[in-house]
Amino acid sequence: MNLHVNPFVVHLNRYTTVSPEHEAAFDEFLSQELASTTEIQPLRIETKTEQFIRQQFQQIQPPCIILTGNAGDGKTYLCRQIIKDFTGEDITQWPPEVIQRVKRGDLTLNVVKDLSEVGEDAGVKILEQLNTVLLQEETQDVFLIAANEGRLRALLSQGKLSDLHRQVDKQLREEPALNQPQLLVLNLNQVTTSSYVQQTIAWLTQKEYWKHCQECPTSRTCPIYFNAGQLSNDFVVSRLKFLYQILEHLGVHLTIRDMLIHLVYTVTGGLNCQIIAERNGQAEWKDQRHFYVYYENVWGETADEIFQRKILATRYLRRLDVGNVSVFNVDDFIINGSLDEETQKVYDDLLGERLDLGEKLFSQRRFEYLHGGVTSPKPEEEHPLIAWLPHCRRKLFFEWENKDETNRLLSFAHLPEYFRLIEGDTIMLERCRKNLILGLNRSFSGLFLSEDNNAHLYVTSQYAHAVEQPVPIIRTRISASDIELILIDETSEVFDRNFTKLVLDIPPPTRVRDADPKKWSLGLLTFEYLMRRACGGTSNVLATECELKIRRLKDELLQDFAQQESDPDHIFFFGAHKNRYVLQDLRINEGKIQTSGSK
């Protein structure tokens, strides 16, 4: 049989690390390949950052720019674009020099495409040169330096660069100093990669790249081709993007490279045309094909352990554990369909005889389950349909437009509230604020405080190895009504950042006047944890992930708001009283102890 090979699939296989030639995800590779390829246009993501830097360098006196970010954020790519802009020529090969000098009129642009590649001494030297340039009033030298943040920080802490260190640190911690025309530090970590999912999928599913497949005899049963088709659906893409957004709200930053590799894998499942052709000859392939559909690939289900671990996206997405938890309405739909005609139509469309459901396999199992018959397993055995449930749940997560139900497949009980908050629901804001304070109070004190102990946020401390019942002493308290839950829109003109941050704004207690309010940002994880502590649900879930962060908040509050003892003659603490914990106090007045008898 003649082997049909789609060159685009060959190209894609270079991205996934399971294939031996995975170098496509590196800019260094792309630049070389560019010249040779004609048919396939490499992915070109338009980013705000690129536009921004371009504008900067078009000025007569451009600023020096330091680009930081993780490996794969696209630092080298940006450097190349800028050089191209400057010289009008593409560089296909990076020269061996550490600093690449490019001229435009009198201006010299010094490009260091990776500060981590040069040795320690050379690195410090480059930064010293940069420092010198920054100190000059007029200069014809401009720097563009790309570096990993850690490396940059490490180098800056050496040498006599404390001033530069401070500037860089400030811009990294806060934001680029756009009003300061000399030095800009741009941290590509700020980019929310979810912004590029649509663009990337559009490239991956572009019709003309897949037209080869139409002539291929196996295309009807080919999971790769199937995936490319399914992923061109807008709703499916929005769900994929949603997953990326969830990761971002969990504090995970994926680089562009991570995303590319992951999305490519989602399409190919690590397969290629040869493998498909081979397996087509094998009898068991018919029962396996559906394992390679995109909604399984997306979690790296069929990938080997090393791939799963290496690819950041699957490593985190797997933790969301979609498909393994039963949600009644979803399972009910999968097994029973619907009495409503419209909905049943949707059902037939989604869960009928299709390639990704093993052609007839799923329908048969379902029929057997519903109607029994000779093939029914013994009562003590699990029905074969049960094994299909995770698969179908994942499918519905991406394809069933009933998001309220399928979002419950994500193992976050408070996810809907979180995203309603993020979208600016004010009623939700007030309700969550109260619950978050209660959650914090319970977490700080380590006690199941009742809801009427919620007038303040109590910052407590206690002896950790107490032999008897712990008695948390209140070191300071902040009126709950003064604490605000606010949303901060972090849209930026420099980065593609679509992110709204949820922040608890805790003002200092009234007697501590000179302290700044504490702005504590909650990710989805901490939000979930505190809400569970407040609303019930097992508090040990997520405890390891969140307790230390909350502990740190307490430490900071103690340090900033409770450095001085408020009133040594008045002690507030939580003590047991009639089977619950209540706020107690002891006051010492002229040598006599009194309690106001809080009940």
């Binding site: 107490a466 003659d569 010492i588 102890i593």
Partner: protein, 536 residues
């Protein structure tokens, strides 16, 4: 021999001659902190003192907190005393309508600081020193139940028979730490004052309310005993004298003092600071035991101040927790066993050397090691053997060197029981309690770094300026001999010796970083570099 502190001529057990006077197995790990702070406070928060320190008795407070109907060592006097105290306290110190309830509330609050319980009698229990006023010295009721005091009616009679010099639990381990810090800051007055002042502040500037309550409770009792309010003077008349440590110029002492200075710069919750300090002390004293057990380290080496390099420890920390199939764990466990073997070897070596040095008068060992304190049977068996050996030597059946060798053997066999029973386990107990060795119980002990000790070590090594993870690891190796990653494994020679794949050390290094990141002690910026810094 060079020493620092108060040394008598002789009469110490073997371990004291090597590790100072003294550390004993009976001391609870938290009691090292308690004793140390008691001594420091008893010297008015000054390091480097060699006179007598005050011992806080606070019998009123401790009876109030610990003595009740569940007490295992009930005594007529104490029954009476508590009754008395409660009455007076309610009458004179409590205002408001429900005095009993208020009293119980005060008690609940103070009991939350109970640090040592362990089925002990009330007088051997301690409070965690949230405040200076919660410090008091180990006591012992000497008069047996019902023996005396039956007719006592006066409060002051109830206190008779309680002594403060038992040293069953405050066995001088905290004193050793005091001495180490004093010796380690001999030539750095600034550091010396800084440490003392910061500790003073920790114990006096925070939790003042609790301190105030404790003072009132104790005052209520003293008013009865002394008949006036002037309780302070009466309470502290009992004093104690320090023990001693060898080789005052040992480099390790300086390192320990330096650690503590940096550690105390932190501004986390004072209660947590003290708790972490207890961990740090346990870690430091474990190191001290190991350091002094290193072979071929004459006093001179310590004097010259190069003892750390000359006898660098190799303590491989297992951060992988078995996820590598236990390869690192195995090596670490071997090293742990080696440390213990070295402690025994150091004891044996000391005895041999002693015998060689005193070949002209071998009987001097009797008083030197305080042999008269050992049991009659043990002594008898030793004497018999010694007799036989002496006789053989006099009859010229054996030569001098053989005689000395045999003598060293029987002397060692005499001393080893006490050594094993009272000293050898100290390093296990301490290191396991503070999370430097795992598991807490059972076989397969190996070096680890649990969350608390990891935090304490970070605070003790990273001041305001953060450092890279690699620098941090290098520092742990240079200062303590802790090995985690491949670089230190190579430097220490461990890599050569154990011949396990370098990848294990790499993974070990990554695993520890993960742990530190989780604990908020490290930030990883990119694949290349991680920085270690204080969380607050």
């Amino acid at each position: 021999m060079n020493f620092y502190g108060q040394q008598e001529q002789d009469g110490y057990p073997l371990a004291a001659w090597i590790w100072g006077h003294r550390m004993r197995i009976g001391q609870h790990w938290m009691e090292y902190l308690l004793e140390f702070l008691n001594v420091l406070a008893g010297f008015d928060y000054e390091l480097g003192r060699k006179d007598e320190y005050k011992r806080f008795t606070r019998l009123g407070l401790r009876r109030f907190v610990f003595y009740d109907e569940r007490e295992k060592t009930r005594h007529f006097s104490d029954d009476q005393a508590v009754k008395f105290l409660h009455r007076v306290f309610k009458e004179d110190y409590i205002a408001g309508p429900e005095p009993e309830e208020t009293l119980q509330l005060v008690r609940t609050l103070l009991q939350a600081f109970s640090a040592i319980e362990e089925q002990r009698s009330w007088y051997a229990k301690s409070l965690f020193p949230a405040h200076h006023n919660l410090l008091f010295w180990e006591a012992l009721r000497k008069s047996k139940k019902g023996q005396s005091n039956q007719n006592a009616t006066e409060p002051r009679d109830f206190d008779t028979g309680v002594a403060f010099d038992a040293r069953n639990f405050f066995a001088r381990g905290g004193e050793i730490y005091y001495l180490i810090l004093s010796a380690g800051t001999q030539d750095n007055q600034e550091r010396c004052t800084k440490i003392a002042n910061r500790l003073k502040s920790l114990l006096n500037d925070y939790n003042q309310g609790v301190g105030y309550l404790a003072a009132l409770v104790d005052q209520a009792w003293h008013q009865q005993v002394a008949g006036n309010d002037d309780f302070a003077d009466d309470d502290i008349h009992k004093t104690g004298r320090l023990g001693w440590i060898p080789d005052p110029n040992c480099q390790l002492y300086k390192i320990i003092a330096e650690d503590l200075e940096t550690f105390l710069e932190t501004h986390i919750d004072p209660l947590e600071t003290l708790d972490l300090l207890a961990h740090l002390i346990g870690f430091h004293l474990t190191l001290y035991i190991y350091h002094r057990a290193q072979p071929n380290m004459p006093s001179q080496t310590h004097m010259q101040g190069n003892c750390l390099e000359a006898g660098r420890l190799i303590l491989l920390v297992d951060a992988l927790n078995g996820s590598d199939g236990g390869v690192i764990r195995q090596v670490s466990a071997t090293l742990f066993q080696e440390q213990e073997a070295r402690i025994i070897q150091a004891g044996k070596e000391y005895v041999s050397q002693f015998v060689r040095d005193h070949s002209d008068d071998t009987d001097v060992a009797w008083s030197y090691f305080g042999i008269s304190r050992l049991s009659k049977d043990t002594r008898k068996s030793f004497e018999d053997k010694k007799h036989k050996l002496d006789a053989a030597y006099q009859r010229a059946e054996i030569a001098l060197d053989k005689y000395l060798k045999r003598y060293a053997e029987i002397l060692w066999n005499l001393l080893i029981n006490d050594f094993r029973k009272n000293f050898l386990g100290v390093h296990r107990k301490l290191s396991k309690s503070v999370g430097f060795v795992a598991p807490k119980k059972g076989a397969g002990a190996r070096f680890v770094l649990d969350d608390n000790i990891l935090k304490a070590l970070t605070l003790a090594n990273v001041s305001k300026q953060e450092m890279t993870y690699d620098e941090f690891l290098a520092r742990l190796y240079l200062r303590y001999g802790i090995v985690v990653g491949p670089i230190e494994a190579r430097q220490s020679g461990l890599f050569e010796r154990q011949r396990i794949n370098v990848e294990y050390y790499d993974r070990n290094k990554i695993a520890l970083l993960e742990k530190m990141k989780f604990a908020g002690l490290a930030t990883e910026y990119s694949d290349a570099t991680a920085m270690i810094g204080k969380s607050v």
